[in-house]
Subunit: 203 residues, 2 copies
DNA sequence: CCACTACTGCGACAAATGGTGCGTTAAGAT
DNA sequence: ATCTTAACGCACCATTTGTCGCAGTAGTGG
């Protein structure tokens, strides 16, 4: 027998959007502990019991929001140079983390609250960094970087300072933090700091 | 009139230690939302009402734990070279973040839960990074680094990848993440990536 | 050693929150 | 159009959270 087919139809989708929007709004306004099943239900206009049944708990809500966030068509910037790409990427990150209300920062913080949200957050990170690897590939093609540069490590080195400063340290960043972090990483990269040894076989 | 004089004596101090230990234990075992006033009171053997009276809420508990954590005699490693110091520092961070139970990671995550805890966490970061600046000063004295190197930016660039990988991304780190991050930062630093322009006056 | 009082323990209480069975409504297929 | 079934709304209960007054205990100064 076929699995019972779902009904992705109009009402279900509408309710989902209402609830997800309410989650983001609550998260932005009341920050962190403000996100309860109750407040989400009240704001969305959907009944408490419905929210409980479809999402189970706060972690389910967050996971759904995070998964929905990954379903976009985002592409990393393409400025024509490695440092330019990294700087533009960092500026996007910086803007997202300092936007008002601070939805992205609140989402990151909230993802610690449950296993489900944690997994969804990891999927989102993985997706974003995977999409960014093209930046490094293009730089290698332009001969800005040596072959065998570890894309992931380079991307993390470039972006980590921005996240660290804004999410964990939460102190006012120095001027042009995105640009400086990008320049530092690009410099280290062109010096071969992220070279990965070939798999010990052929060229 | 003078404020009523406090009693920092035996019982009060003992109760505080019991409660703070219970906070750490709960945080390690039950991770994030597991930390409630009730569970702390139960585990510590202190009455609920006492915990409410002295600490007010979960944020108060976390803030007290964080402040207590800053009252130690920790000093950054001194290995004789910049890269060695940074690598040793990163290894300490790595070990603290991957220890079982994951108390440090849980503390960082939990510090998002309230204003009070947030402020305490910032004080702790500030204190730690300030203590680490001596690493950069020593490197400048050894002429490993140019004068006018921005200590804070260098330290953040060196340590951020470790925090980012273990706290935010939460994916298995590559081999020798601490060492690689340290080498990258040291390389960029000796190339002058963290030079700060002199204040536009004299040498 | 004694008096003073800050601090803790106790239990009862009000209020908010989390979670669930059951009848009703609306979506999707024939 | 109408039938089937998934999804929703309502009412309800259980648990947790936070507060208060009072009595007892133990530091602190004389």
């Amino acid at each position: 027998m076929p699995p019972p087919r779902r009904r992705p139809g109009g009402r279900t989708a509408r309710i989902r959007r209402q609830v997800l929007d309410a989650v983001l709004a609550e998260l932005g306004e009341r920050g962190y502990d403000g996100l309860t099943m109750d407040s989400v239900a009240a704001r969305s206009g959907v009944h408490r019991a419905t929210v409980y049944r479809r999402w189970g708990d706060v972690g389910g809500l967050l996971a759904d929001v995070l998964d929905a966030a990954g379903d976009d068509a985002w592409q990393p910037p393409d400025t024509g140079s490695l440092e330019g790409d990294l700087a533009a990427l960092n500026r996007e990150i910086h803007d997202a983390l300092t936007a008002q209300p601070p939805i992205v920062a609140a989402l990151i913080a909230a993802s610690f609250r449950s296993e489900q949200a944690d997994h969804a957050q990891r999927r989102l990170w993985e997706d974003r960094y995977a999409r960014c690897e093209v930046i490094v590939r293009r730089a290698v093609e332009r001969a800005e970087l040596p072959l065998g540069t570890d894309a992931r490590r380079l991307l993390i080195a470039a972006t980590a300072p921005v996240y660290h400063q804004l999410v964990l340290l939460r102190t006012p960043p120095g001027p042009d933090l995105p640009g400086q972090a990008a320049r530092t990483a690009a410099l280290a990269a062109s010096a071969g700091a992220f070279a990965v040894p070939p798999p010990a076989g052929d060229t």
